[in-house]
Symmetry: C2
Subunit: 364 residues, 2 copies
């Protein structure tokens, strides 16, 4: 069996690594000849909307998926005419547009920060009047890792902000004084079965995910699973979905979804009975979903910009390196580390050793 993947970054690379032991080979469509997924499968080098590239991707594969949300929904729709193409194009279209996404949350009765649709400086000024500050202004599409955002600390910051963000459609969201951020990763099969990983506590540095760790919180866990299930069912979703929440007063406030495997779930490769990557492949390929039980105590660190001294990192017991084979560049995610252990105490000790060696270069 073969699987087609639109996008050839590290998520595609790790999808291919999960697919191969299932006997499934992978083919990628990506405009960059340097796509790091090419080391794990066949690369078709063409734009995401290139008709010939899309045709080539679909040849000889049994199903297709995508690895990030900047893929045009039309590509997925086109592929879905001849093949199972999951997650569905409508889920991709929803997740790509922060205003459509937040509107879906509101329609489903899911707690989310107050938000307004911004089409020009005039609607921005009116929204600032209504919602007040602090608030966050974000491009509706194509933003990630804190890019395409501006914090409005006071009403003065709104002046010229529409032009500053490129005069493109925006969303303004009330700033939430949250205590911490979590994500919930769920997987849904074509027959509607769902599995969920434990909630993940995420720490960001300068807008980029730095550290993720699964946590046990039964009240938040059941809140999260119910919200994620509601969204997956309403989108008739198939595959892995990540849902990011703010936590305040033991309540979840919906931030955003990613219709794909997610950076905060990379620890599942070593830390779960079945990884988010394998479960995504299983869902897309029509195989039964696997157990999400956690294996020991585990945490994940992103390596950003610059690799640490690998010999020192690998000498720490329980450290699993995932080097994506990308060149070093300030602010770029080039690898991650998962730390496994038998106890919380052992995990803390190993994490301290790891943190002392990281030289994350955020370039900001």
């Amino acid at each position: 069996m073969k699987l087609g993947v639109v996008g050839g970054g590290q998520l595609g690379r790790m999808l291919a690594q999960a697919a191969l032991p299932l006997g499934i080979e992978t083919k990628f469509l990506d405009p960059s000849a340097q796509s790091c997924a090419a080391a794990a499968g066949q690369l078709i080098c063409a734009a995401y909307d290139d008709a010939e590239g899309i045709q080539q991707l679909s040849e000889g594969v049994s199903a297709v998926t995508f690895e990030f949300e900047n893929v045009p929904p039309l590509t997925v729709e086109k592929l879905s005419q001849s093949l199972p193409a999951y997650p569905p194009a409508n889920a991709l279209a929803t997740a790509r547009d922060r205003w459509v996404e937040k509107s879906m949350f509101r329609d489903l009765g899911i707690d989310t920060p107050a938000f307004e649709k911004i089409d020009d400086q005039e609607t921005l000024d009116a929204a600032v009047e209504r919602l007040g500050c602090p608030a966050v202004l974000k491009t509706r599409t194509l933003g990630y890792d804190g890019k395409g955002q501006k914090v409005l600390r006071s009403t003065q910051d709104a002046a010229g902000a529409f032009a500053f963000l490129g005069s493109v459609p925006l969303i303004m969201e009330s700033f939430v004084e949250f205590e911490y951020e979590v994500s919930c990763i769920g997987v849904r099969s074509a027959s509607g079965d769902c599995v969920f990983y434990p909630l993940i506590h995420n720490e960001h540095r300068q807008g980029i995910l730095y550290r993720s760790q699964p946590i046990l919180n039964s009240s938040l866990q059941s809140q999260a699973e119910s919200v994620v299930k509601k969204v997956m069912d309403s989108l008739n979703y198939v595959g892995t979905l990540a849902f990011e929440f703010f936590v305040k007063d033991d309540q979840l406030i919906a931030n955003e979804i990613a219709p794909r495997v997610h950076n905060s779930g990379h620890w599942t490769i070593e830390g779960s009975a079945t990884s988010q990557f394998e479960n995504h492949v299983r869902a897309v390929a029509g195989l039964p979903l696997g157990s999400t039980e956690t294996r020991g105590d585990v945490a994940m660190y992103n390596i950003i910009g610059k690799l640490p001294v690998i010999e020192k990192i690998l000498a720490i017991p329980g450290v699993h390196l995932h080097n994506y084979g990308k060149s070093e560049r300030a602010g770029r995610k080039i690898a991650h580390l998962t730390v496994t252990s038998e106890s919380a105490e052992q995990l803390n000790s190993r994490c301290s050793q790891v943190e002392a060696l990281l030289v994350n270069d955020l370039g900001v």
Copy 2:
């Protein structure tokens, strides 16, 4: 970094899968265009002793290794003239010849069954006289999985046995009434550091490994580690080595070594902090060896000849499929399953479910 591997079977495929997260890509040399490792790296299709193929394999790689012992030692020696080539050619040459191998055991003072070198029917008859029966007659080279062997139950069985096994150099070994079989997998770095996995209990069916499970036995473990270290040091070994023993009266009797990653260690992918494959790559690439601590309770099953119903297998929690992408054929190893769990009880329950689904076709 790139690694060259002589041989492109499932061991090569799993070496490549372990190397990629370390940022190491893999290139294979194998005469078969159907090599299943090709899905995980670049394949150079040529005979193991083909000068041009060897040259192509060595281009752009930082080190080379091999994935099975039927590779000609001369190929490794040739590669070692320009590159780190591990394990060393002398280890390969020793392991390829059962008589040389057993002689090394004897020279190092390692317990082994009584054995004799057989060059013709005459030396065979004389050996039968000296050692008595039952005994096992094996080709000195190129045998595996019980192939190229003949059991001599009584002296009459010796008649014509030399011709029966192809009139090639043989070894005759006294039959050991062992209680069970274990293997010890060790890894040695170029600087002489050694790590060992826990002893593995191996169950064979018709000469082919069926089930492997790590066991705790501190007395046998220390015996085994001391023997394996002695052999690795004496061969100036670099990489993963598997040592098979018979167990009788709480003593180890050396059976044979494999100078490579080994089928009985496949459970280390999910069951150890660092797999035998990753530690082999680390050793060959000059990286520090990783922890061999075991993660939970774990067992491995070979899938031979015919795949079970994959949907049913994948529905059992904690079951990890490794489908090698090879076509089904009686007696052929085409996949393996690792079962992970949190307790011995849970492992037993999961293994029972697995065993009920296996349809191993030994074709005999």
